[in-house]
């Protein structure tokens, strides 16, 4: 009986262990299937949350831009029209674009095109984009500060000296001071001087990026970092003069 009992119990042990292993395996398989489903669900949730984050970030970015525009509008003493860029020159030689507002909205040739610019110090300023060169009833052509044919008289607010800036084919803005003995430092802020009565005075152009001596060493050539990011021009303000 003892032997038989041992045999049976041994057999029971084996069967139980087998059953237990099989059950465990079955539960493991079930668990894997469940985990896979959970994984899919969690991945979907991650995607949904990422999408929500992207939407919220977009709203935050937009609200910052709108806040900047609002600050600029408060300080704007000129009558203006808001224009949407509808076409941009794609060549390497020019820097021009077309906006969806024209003569019917009161835009005339030589009107100034600006954008709200937030400086590193967090101050909102009017940043110069360029000038209207041609108008139609419903649209206008604008040349930007980067274009070779755009010349702007500027004033260095650090030393109150004036000069001329010009864009170029390679997209850099360079300029000279009228007074050849004047010195400028990188970081000096430049605004429109109003000389020539084309540009309204005191519109922020940008900062001096570099100062280079010319070959004859009698004058200084300044390289300017424009305040406006010309790769992100979308909505612009046209000041009616």
């Amino acid at each position: 009986m003892g032997f038989f009992g041992n045999l049976i119990s041994g057999f029971q042990k084996i069967v139980y262990k087998t059953g237990n292993t099989l059950t465990n395996s079955f539960y493991s398989v079930q668990e894997i299937v469940k985990m896979r489903e959970e994984n899919i669900m969690l991945t979907e949730n991650v995607y949904k949350l990422r999408e929500q984050v992207r939407i919220l970030e977009n709203i935050i970015n937009k609200s910052e831009a709108l806040q900047t525009e609002y600050e600029m509008k408060k300080n704007l003493s000129y009558d203006y029209v808001v224009g949407q860029v509808i076409a941009i020159d794609d060549s390497n030689w020019f820097s021009r674009f077309t906006i969806d507002k024209g003569e019917n909205d009161g835009i005339k040739q030589n009107d100034i095109v600006i954008q709200a610019v937030k400086t590193d110090e967090g101050i909102v300023q009017i940043g110069l984009i360029g000038i209207v060169t041609q108008t139609s009833s419903e649209w206008s052509k604008v040349i930007t500060l980067l274009d070779e044919s755009c010349k702007v008289s500027f004033r260095n607010i650090e030393n109150d000296e004036s000069g001329i800036l010009q864009g170029s084919i390679d997209g850099t803005v360079t300029g000279y001071f009228f007074n050849s003995k004047v010195f400028a430092e990188p970081g000096d802020s430049l605004v429109t001087s109003g000389i020539g009565e084309v540009y309204i005075p005191d519109i922020y152009i940008g900062d001096v990026k570099d100062v280079v001596k010319t070959t004859d060493a009698s004058t200084l050539r300044i390289i300017v970092e424009p305040a406006v990011d010309f790769t992100k021009i979308n909505r612009v303000y046209v000041l009616k003069k």
Binding site: A87, I88, W93, I169
Partner: protein, 164 residues
Amino acid sequence: MKKFILMSFLIIIGFVFQTSFMIFFNHFKVIPNFSLILLVIFAIMSDGIQGGLLGILTGLLYDSMIYSIFGLYTLIYFLIGALIGTYSIEMLRENKFLYSVAAGISTIFMHALLYLILFFLKFRVGLAAKIFPNIILETVINAVLVVFVAKIIMYLFDRFNVKV
């Protein structure tokens, strides 16, 4: 006539696509010139007169909508369209390599003419050396893309029962 109208329509669509959509890819500094690509394809498919007329249409769109120097692009695109149209041979129209070569040469020709005209307009073209790598890259991109665009155009012409 149906072929010319369809080509003109596609030139206008191409212009809008180029100036209002492709600019979003401007972060790469170089974008393909779809207006030029379309002009090259259509000029190869037609003769000198039609090629020249399509070139004038392309150039007029650019000159009137974006640039203030009227006639600059009209002249350049007219020359490209007329020259390719005149020298295109019907036998070679199926050869995709021809499209590639024509698009590459046209891109370089366009920039060379621009350089020359802007030189006489007293632009500081000496600075053009800095944009030279961009022009080379644009030439390569145009030469590659023209093959795919040509296939799409052939398909469209087939759908509209227009003889190439």
